[in-house]
């Protein structure tokens, strides 16, 4: 193999053999499928990268969001928890046809009692109110003069029945009843 021409028989291209049937078409179809697969992978990869960037951004945003500071709790101070319980309060609604409740007219002061007694048409009620006014003047203010005046009016409106002694009579009222009974007794004696 010292002659360069000897290589001609080894390195010269051989006659082209008969191509295998379908080999070229199959090979080209394989290359097309590989190209399509590569495109699909690139698109999928790009979409995955975009989704990953959005996901990382979302996680970062969630992780870096401002957090309000936790309230400081002093362990020395006992924690008081206020529990609010709703309570239903029924509100009475008066019917239109219901009678108006009578307002209590019981006076709380001597002057008020005397005023109501002056306005009362019923003699018994007027006598009771005058007596109440006399009690108030006597016990609350030790006002003997006004107390005596109210007691006298009470006995005048009560009539003869009002002179009967009672267990709850004040000392001033009892004295007035005795005085009036004595006057009445003396007057009857003198007439007789």
């Amino acid at each position: 193999m010292t002659d360069p021409d000897d290589l001609e028989s080894l390195l010269a291209p051989r006659p082209t053999p008969e191509p295998r049937p379908g080999f070229e078409a199959t090979l080209f179809a394989q290359t097309e499928r590989a190209l399509a697969r590569g495109r699909h992978l690139r698109c999928t990869g790009r979409a995955a990268v975009v989704a990953g960037v959005f996901g990382v951004g979302g996680l970062l945003g969630w992780g870096l969001r401002p957090v309000p500071p936790a309230p400081e709790i002093d362990p020395a101070v006992p924690r008081v928890e206020v529990v609010t319980v709703p309570v239903v309060v029924p509100v009475p609604v008066p019917a239109e046809s219901a009678p108006v409740a009578e307002v209590s007219t019981e006076p709380t002061t001597a002057a008020a009692a005397e005023l109501l007694a002056e306005q009362a048409d019923d003699p018994a009620r007027a006598a009771r109110l005058y007596r109440l006014a006399g009690d108030r003047f006597l016990l609350d203010a030790q006002d003997f003069r006004n107390s005596r005046r109210c007691y006298r009016l009470s006995l005048a409106r009560a009539g003869d029945g009002g002179l009967r002694p009672a267990a709850d009579d004040s000392w001033l009222l009892a004295d007035l009843k005795v005085s009036l009974l004595k006057e009445r007794h003396d007057a009857t004696k003198n007439d007789g």
């Binding site: 290589l7 390195l11 010269a12 051989r14 082209t16 394989q30 290359t31 590989a34 190209l35």
Partner: protein, 181 residues
């Protein structure tokens, strides 16, 4: 076609193929398939089964790595030839690692029974050569270029090509004989 125009055209075709242009791929494939098939057959010593395997592997690797093809670094045909050269080496190593697989096809009646073994030795010797020796032998024996044409192509003097060709022949002989031993 000037080199700038070739780079521009191949870049446009590559981008079209990657974008899914089937017609562009069909045209590009048809343009290069015959030359690549001839080169692979030559590199395989004319063994048809080995050549088919290498050709298939070369095209599939090329389409998988098409994004990496840079027209400015060299023409598409040279890029394909580089992939084919690696595929030949891998295929030869694989064939020789498998003792159960026959090294050559069964000789047809009336044919030279040693032709298959010789073809494989040629393929192995070419695979063992440095790239510049293989390139000058390819230009001389496969492409049938004269020394002057090779010199003009590579931009060197004819004397330099003759010298390179002599060294390449000698390296091939040594590799061919070494494979026989």
């Amino acid at each position: 076609m000037s080199d700038g125009a070739r780079v521009w055209r191949e870049r446009a075709v590559r981008d079209a193929v990657l974008a899914g242009d089937a017609a562009a791929w069909r045209g590009w494939y048809d343009d290069h398939a015959p030359d690549l098939a001839a080169y692979v057959r030559w590199r395989c010593g004319g063994l048809p089964d080995l050549a088919d395997d290498v050709l298939q592997e070369t095209w599939l690797v090329a389409v998988r790595r098409l994004r990496a093809f840079d027209p400015a670094a060299g023409p598409f045909s040279a890029w394909l030839a580089g992939i084919a050269a690696n595929a030949v080496r891998n295929a030869l190593r694989s064939r020789r690692r498998k003792p159960t697989r026959p090294l050559t096809e069964a000789p047809e009646p009336g044919s030279d029974p040693t032709a298959g073994a010789t073809a494989e030795r040629v393929a192995a010797a070419l695979a063992a050569l440095p790239a510049h020796y293989e390139a000058v032998l390819r230009a001389k024996y496969l492409d049938r270029c004269t020394v002057d044409e090779i010199a003009a192509e590579q931009g060197v003097r004819a004397k330099g090509i003759e010298s390179l060709l002599g060294r390449a022949r000698q390296a091939f002989r040594e590799a061919f004989e070494a494979d026989h031993d």
